[in-house]
C-alpha cells in the first residue's frame, strides 16, 4: 500500500495532480446548482415584490 502511495517516488506530483483535479471538479459540480437555486430565489423575490 505504501508503495502505491509512493508512486515510484513521484507520489507528490501524481497525488497533487489528482487532488487539484478533484477540487476543480467538485467546485464545477456544486456551482451550477448553487447558481440555479440562487436565480430561482431571486426571481421568486422579485415576483413577490411586484405582486404586492
Amino acid at each position: 500500500m505504501a508503495e502505491f502511495w509512493d508512486m515510484g517516488g513521484y507520489g507528490a506530483y501524481v497525488w497533487s495532480s489528482y487532488g487539484i483535479a478533484l477540487v476543480i471538479l467538485l467546485l464545477n459540480t456544486v456551482e451550477p446548482y448553487w447558481r440555479l437555486r440562487r436565480t430561482e430565489r431571486r426571481i421568486a423575490r422579485e415576483t413577490a415584490r411586484e405582486d404586492t
Binding site: M7, G8, Y10, Y13, I20, L27, N28, P32, E40, I43
Partner: protein, 250 residues
C-alpha cells in the same frame, strides 16, 4: 428533425429536455471518471520511461481535450448565435466559458506538475504551453466581456464574436507539437496510424475523457437553465415554471 430543432430552441422545452437528460449524463459521467481514474492509477502498468509519473496523463489529457472541445463548441454556438440570433446558443457561449476556463487551468497546472519531474522545469515558453495559456486568456476574455456589457444579448453577441475569432488558436494548439520544436511530447492518441500507447494504458484515458465530456455536458446544461431563467424572468413561462417547481417541492 427541423421540428425537433425548433422545439429544442423553445425555452420551456429546453428546460424539460435538459432536466430529463440530467441523470443520463450525470451518472455515467461520474462512473466513467471514477473507473478511468482507478484503472489509470491501479491497473495500468507503469511507463517504461516515465515510471508512475505518467499517470498524470489521466488528468492532464482529458482536461486538455476538454479545453479544446469546449472552446470549439463555443465558437460553433457563437456562429449560430450571430447568424440566427438563437437565444440558447448565446446562453451556451456565456455559460460554457467558465467551465472551459477551469479545464484549461487544470490542463496547465497538471502539465506543469508533470513537467517538473520529467523536464526539470515547471514551465517553458514553447509553442504548446504558450498557445494553451493564450486559450486560457481567451476564455477569461469571454467571461470579462460578458461581465462588462450591461445588456445581456449584446454581451452574448460580443462574446460569440470573440469565441469565433479566437478559435484560430485551437488548431495552433493541436499542431504546435508538430510545427515547432518543443519539449512537449508528440500526439499519443490522435494519430492516424495506431496510437502510441498500450491498450492497457489507453483505455483508462479514453474512459476518463468520455466521462469528463459527459460531466461537462451535464454541468453546462444546469448553468444554462439558471441563465435562461434569469434572462426570461419577466416572461409568463418562467413564472409558470417556478410555480410548478414550488408545487413539486412542497
Amino acid at each position: 428533425m427541423m421540428r425537433w430543432f425548433h422545439q429544442l430552441g423553445s425555452p420551456p422545452h429546453f428546460m424539460a429536455i435538459s432536466r430529463r437528460l440530467e441523470p443520463f449524463l450525470a451518472v455515467p459521467a461520474v462512473a466513467l471518471c471514477l473507473l478511468g481514474a482507478y484503472a489509470g492509477l491501479v491497473w495500468a502498468p507503469a511507463d517504461y520511461q516515465q515510471g508512475d509519473a505518467f499517470r498524470i496523463i489521466y488528468i492532464h489529457v482529458p482536461a486538455a481535450w476538454l479545453s479544446l472541445f469546449v472552446y470549439t463548441s463555443m465558437a460553433v454556438a457563437g456562429a449560430i448565435a450571430l447568424i440566427w440570433r438563437m437565444k440558447l446558443a448565446e446562453i451556451y457561449v456565456v455559460t460554457a466559458a467558465s467551465l472551459g476556463a477551469s479545464f484549461t487551468f487544470l490542463a496547465l497546472v497538471t502539465g506543469s506538475v508533470w513537467g517538473k519531474p520529467m523536464w526539470g522545469t515547471w514551465w517553458v515558453w514553447d509553442a504548446r504551453l504558450t498557445s494553451e495559456l493564450i486559450l486560457l486568456f481567451l476564455y477569461l476574455g469571454v467571461i470579462a466581456l460578458n461581465n462588462a456589457i450591461e445588456q445581456p444579448r449584446s454581451a452574448a453577441r460580443a462574446c460569440s464574436l470573440l469565441a469565433l475569432v479566437g478559435v484560430v488558436n485551437v488548431p495552433i494548439i493541436h499542431y504546435s507539437v508538430e510545427w515547432w520544436n518543443t519539449l512537449h511530447q508528440g500526439p499519443t492518441v490522435t494519430r492516424f496510424d495506431k496510437p502510441a500507447m498500450e491498450w492497457s494504458m489507453l483505455w483508462p484515458l479514453l474512459t476518463v475523457a468520455l466521462g469528463a465530456t459527459l460531466l461537462f455536458g451535464w454541468l453546462v446544461l444546469v448553468r444554462m437553465r439558471a441563465e435562461l431563467l434569469w434572462r426570461e424572468r419577466r416572461s409568463r413561462w418562467v413564472r409558470r415554471y417556478l410555480a410548478g417547481e414550488e408545487a413539486g417541492n412542497g
